[in-house]
């Protein structure tokens, strides 16, 4: 059963931000070595996913 409409773009944008934040946190904690050449594609991918969701919503 469907409940009220949710703004998918906002949900995806929030999830993408959480994912990026998690990556940065792991990098800060030393669990992950997030170098520049990996950070840029991650940010680009997050932006791309949000844009696609906005376009399809």
């Amino acid at each position: 059963m469907r409940r009220g409409r949710v703004d998918r773009t906002l949900v995806v944008a929030g999830l993408a931000t959480i994912a990026l934040g998690t990556l940065l946190l792991l990098d800060r904690l030393g669990s992950l070595d997030l170098r520049f050449e990996y950070a840029v594609p991650a940010v680009l991918a997050a932006i791309g996913i949000v844009l696609i969701t906005a376009g399809l919503s």
């Binding site: 990996y38 594609p41 680009l44 791309g48 844009l51 696609i52 906005a54 376009g55």
Partner: protein, 390 residues
């Protein structure tokens, strides 16, 4: 009676996009079987994932919804999706570069990316408004700007490619730059060419529809409307009215089924049959003289229909004096003259809403490559001349 089920996604019974459920519904099996196959395909190399994504994008969902690809091509905010796809592709390329799985040289890839972006802009712009071909001269400024930006990107990408490959040096081979420029021009001009071809096809379809509508209108005028007029005229004779209705029904059925009574397979036979029919309906004698004969093809049938309409007009307005129908057919050329000794009329004074002469005779002959001329002077009778050239 079995009916083929069209393949459609079924998101209401699926876990993701309803692709497996759609296939199961199409095949008439339990969706769990398809899902097991999908999981196996994922497990043995992951091929199931791109296939599922492809099905999600290409297969339309239940209901009137169109496939995602089709929606993307027609949406006004497709640039958002295109930009998102561009970001994802760029991210993938950078990741491949970081992993040293760099299979294409920077000198080729980045000019290609720039040119592809420009090409996508132009293609998107040209495909977004195919219905506004006629308004091409009034395209809004932002549309022109986008197309110009796309063209600049394509040319810029091509020039960068030539430069980094040292192909612009004067002593170098000139073939490569010419080829690249030709490819760039093709990318720029192809959408317009495609749109022009589509526009011509649409225009042709509209013209055919208009002609068919005129044919139907002329036929209805000559058959149903004329019979209804006769029914009103003979309302006091039920047997005559019933006979008229039966004949009209037969004629309409034959027309709908595209069948023709035997004996009317030639032009002369069809003209004589039409004259006999009009004579029976209107009780006005018609003298028929035919010289030669020809096949009753589509233009010939139009000639007969126009002659019949001229005979009906003459019977209605010039009776009870005999009407003359003279036809001469030779070498594919056919000429028909319908003459009466009635009161005549002023051709230029015929009201615009009268279809008889304008549509059923002149318009019909012109639509089929012939011509019709009405010679009439008030008080001196009328002659309708119909000519069909080979």
């Amino acid at each position: 009676m079995s009916e083929a089920v069209e393949l459609r996604r079924d998101p209401s019974h699926g876990y993701l996009g309803g692709v497996c459920a759609g296939f199961a519904s199409r095949a008439g099996i339990d969706p769990i079987l398809i899902r097991i196959g999908f999981i196996v395909a994922v497990a043995i190399g992951g091929v199931g994932i791109p296939l599922y994504a492809l099905g999600w994008v290409l297969i339309p969902a239940e209901g009137p919804e169109k496939p995602a690809v089709q929606r993307l091509l027609t949406r006004s905010d497709t640039w958002l999706v295109a930009a998102g796809m561009g970001c994802l592709v760029a991210a993938g390329l950078l990741l491949l570069r970081a992993w040293d799985v760099w299979f294409v040289s920077d000198q080729i890839l980045w000019p290609f990316v720039i040119a592809a972006t420009g090409g996508a802009l132009i293609w998107r712009q040209s495909q977004s408004a195919p219905e506004r071909v006629a308004e091409r001269a009034k395209l809004p400024r932002h549309t022109v700007n986008r197309a110009a930006a796309g063209a600049a990107l394509v040319v810029g990408g091509a020039l960068i490619f030539l430069y980094v490959n040292d192909a612009l040096a004067p002593a170098r081979d000139v073939v490569l730059p010419v080829l690249v420029m030709l490819v760039a021009l093709t990318i720029i001009l192809a959408p317009w060419w495609i749109r022009m071809v589509r526009g011509l096809a649409d225009e042709r379809a509209a013209r055919i529809r208009s002609q068919e509508r005129a044919e139907v209108a002329a036929h209805l005028h000559d058959s149903v409307l004329q019979t209804l007029a006769l029914v009103q005229k003979r309302a006091d004779d039920p047997r005559e009215v019933a006979a008229l209705a039966r004949r009209q029904e037969r004629e309409l059925r034959a027309w709908l089924n595209n069948t023709r009574p035997l004996g009317e397979a030639t032009l002369a036979g069809a003209l004589e049959a039409a004259a006999a029919e009009v004579e029976a309906d209107h009780h006005v004698p018609i003298d028929v003289v035919t010289v030669g004969d020809g096949p009753l093809d589509e233009p010939g049938a139009a000639l007969v229909a126009a002659a019949r309409e001229a005979l009906v007009n003459a019977s209605k307005f010039a009776g009870p004096e005999p009407i003359s129908l003279y036809a001469e057919m030779a070498d594919g050329r056919a000429e028909v003259f319908v003459r009466d000794r009635g009161p005549g009329f002023d051709v230029s004074a015929v009201p615009q809403d009268r279809r008889g002469v304008r549509d059923s005779i002149v318009g019909r002959m012109e639509r089929h490559g012939g011509r019709a001329t009405v010679h009439s002077t008030p008080g001196q009778g009328t002659e309708v001349e119909l000519v069909m050239e080979p």
